[in-house]
């Protein structure tokens, strides 16, 4: 009887050893830190549901005292051009991605698996170009676009990014791992090189392509620098660029302001929550980019 009583007590005491207390404290601290990381999002969503005077109310409550969520979001989506802004962002990001894949995959295959003169020079150029950020080439690219009368067009917004040297590098490394014997066998079976790319290489490269696609989409969705330079009208404004308008009292309805910030942030955050692994892998690939 006494035995059966002491056993649970002992294991309960066991759990309170310094080591597990330490672990508990760590867990609590980690969640406290996580609260700080997530609080700006909570504040943003909460404020997007509030009337203006409540947004800057000193005693902040997560649940709005007066609910103005419908009006705020209705205003952002139907009375302000936010659908256009989001559409522009989608067009530009998807356009860039499509061009990047179309130009990078064939080049990467040739660099990885085919012998041709100049391949070393080309690959060296690719490596060197990876270190060059848009901030360095922006001046001549901008002047060129001005001269061509192409400012404020989708073309101008996409142009500097339609070839990704990073994608060429990444896919080349990936394709190199593909067994030569399979490619040889396919050639013997009468596959053309194009068929080899489409039917053997591409399916095997899906994980790398998916990760790169996320990296590219996120990078260009969030890009402020280049749209700030080439976009001039509201017609071509991207969702990210639209956030610049609020520095000049574009909208004095603060509830609606944060509804628009939520609308701009939502697509990527929602996509992230659905494909967490892929996102983390895709985005941390930038590391390689340096």
């Amino acid at each position: 009887m006494a035995d059966t009583l002491t056993t649970p007590a002992a294991s309960w005491l066991e759990r309170l050893r310094p080591k597990s207390i330490g672990r508990l404290v760590t867990t609590v601290l980690l969640f406290a830190g996580a609260w700080i990381m997530v609080f700006p999002f909570i504040w943003m969503i909460s404020s997007s549901l509030k009337p203006t005077d409540e947004v800057y109310d000193r005693d902040f409550t997560i649940i709005p005292k007066t609910f103005k969520g419908w009006e705020n979001y209705y205003g952002v989506i139907f009375e302000q051009p936010y659908l256009t802004f989001l559409m522009n962002s989608f067009i530009v990001c998807l356009g860039i991605l499509a061009f990047q894949l179309i130009t990078a995959i064939p080049a990467a295959y040739a660099l990885a698996k085919l012998k041709f003169r100049g391949s070393t020079i080309l690959f060296g150029t690719v490596i060197a170009a990876i270190t060059i950020p848009i901030n360095v080439t922006s001046i001549p690219l901008y002047i060129g676009l001005v001269r061509a009368g192409l400012l404020d067009t989708y073309f101008a917004m996409m142009f500097p990014f339609i070839v990704s040297v990073f994608a060429i590098f990444l896919f080349r490394q990936f394709f190199r791992g593909f067994p030569d014997s399979i490619i040889q066998a396919a050639r013997v079976d009468g596959f053309s090189e194009i068929e080899i790319i489409l039917r053997l290489i591409l399916p095997s490269a899906v994980p790398a392509i998916a990760a790169f696609s996320i990296f590219s989409f996120v990078a260009h969705w969030n890009d402020l620098y280049w749209p700030l330079i080439v976009v001039q009208s509201q017609d071509k404004m991207t969702a990210t660029l639209s956030m610049m308008q609020y520095q000049s009292a574009f909208d004095t309805d603060f509830g609606r302001t944060y509804a628009s910030a939520t609308v701009v942030t939502a697509p990527l955050v929602i996509a992230f929550l659905f494909a967490r692994r892929l996102f983390i892998r895709g985005i941390t690939m930038t590391g390689v980019k340096g």
């Binding site: 760590t26 867990t27 980690l30 996580a34 700080i36 990381m37 997530v38 700006p40 999002f41 504040w43 947004v55 800057y56 000193r58 902040f60 064939p106 080049a107 040739a110 660099l111 085919l114 041709f116 003169r117 080309l122 690719v126 270190t131 060059i132 901030n135 360095v136 080439t137 922006s138 001046i139 001549p140 901008y142 002047i143 142009f159 500097p160 339609i162 070839v163 040297v165 060429i168 969030n222 402020l224 330079i229 969702a239 660029l241 956030m243 609020y246 520095q247 603060f254 302001t257 910030a261 701009v264 942030t265 990527l268 955050v269 992230f272 967490r276 983390i280 941390t284 590391g287 340096g290």
Partner: protein
């Protein structure tokens, strides 16, 4: 052998496959770099078609210019604030999260959330949180009896404020890189160290974790330094370099010179200086990565 019809067809195909990418690399990277260099030797401005060759004048102006010195000072000061936090906080978080069992993936997602979010939208949120009058942060500080801070209006504070926002947005990113590095450390090294008497967590860290994490740590340090040097979005949205140039960092200055004042020649010199800095970081990374490959 090299001239067999099949070989020749394959070579021709290879050229066709690399042609679009090569042409675009030429137009988007190589020619612009040459033009930036050429423009940096002229007094070209977009407003007039007339320009002259001025030699190294732009570079001389640059090194004598108080605006340039100020921007460099601001950027380095900001980097000094940002880098230790971006490195140490991420590393501590990664170690702590790795030891969590049930909560690891939840915590990973929560800390990574700011990385996926659009910084320019979240900057507006931070502006409200850091509002000197009604912001949540100052209200919280005041309940603890700490006087509120003028986060964006005070020239001595503004770089701290920007560093806090950058830390918030980058910690999850570095943490995931560290987590990947930590996961790759073989467990038996810890067991071996424990047999040698390294049982305490601090011992374990300095005897096993830190030496094994070398390449990852180098990598995080270099990418974070480049990130620090590329600070732009929050400055453009929140401070526009103010108050009184106190947050005018390098890339923002280059942006103003090129696209607000249209001093293209001078701005080109600034761009090349920026490229030089990036190259130094890339070089450091390449050198250290090679050395680390050996063990």
């Amino acid at each position: 052998m090299a001239t067999s019809p099949l070989q020749r067809a394959q070579t021709r195909l290879a050229y066709m496959l690399v042609l679009p990418a090569s042409l675009l690399i030429l137009v988007i990277y190589i020619i612009p770099i040459i033009l930036v260099f050429a423009a940096s030797l002229t007094d070209y401005t977009l407003v007039s078609d007339h320009y002259e060759f001025v030699g190294l004048e732009n570079y001389r102006t640059m090194f004598a210019d108080e605006g340039f010195a100020n921007a460099l000072r601001n950027t380095f000061f900001y980097a000094v604030l940002f880098l230790p936090g971006a490195f140490v906080i991420s590393l501590v978080l990664a170690i702590a999260i790795q030891e969590q069992k049930q909560f690891r993936s939840v915590l990973e997602v929560l800390y990574f959330l700011p990385v996926t979010s659009t910084l320019s939208a979240m900057a507006l949120v931070w502006a409200a949180l850091m509002d000197s009058g009604q912001g949540v942060i100052n209200a919280t500080l005041e309940t603890f009896g700490i006087p509120g801070v003028n986060w964006f209006g005070n020239g001595n504070v503004v770089l701290y404020s920007l560093a806090i926002i950058s830390l918030w947005s980058v910690i999850g990113f570095n943490m995931v890189l560290f987590l990947a590095g930590l996961t790759a450390i073989p467990q038996n090294l810890y067991e071996a160290a424990a047999m040698d008497g390294a049982d305490h967590p601090v011992d374990k860290f300095f005897r096993v974790t830190w030496p094994m994490l070398g390449p990852t740590a180098m990598f995080v340090a270099v990418t974070s330094s480049i990130t620090a040097f590329k600070l732009f979005d929050t400055v453009a949205i929140l401070t526009q370099g103010g108050p009184d140039h106190a947050s005018e960092v390098f890339l923002y200055l280059a942006f103003l010179e090129a696209f607000e004042y249209f001093n293209m020649g001078y701005a080109s010199a600034l761009s090349l200086f920026f490229l030089g800095i990036i190259f130094v970081f890339a070089l450091v990374q390449a050198l250290f990565t090679d050395r680390n490959v050996q063990y």
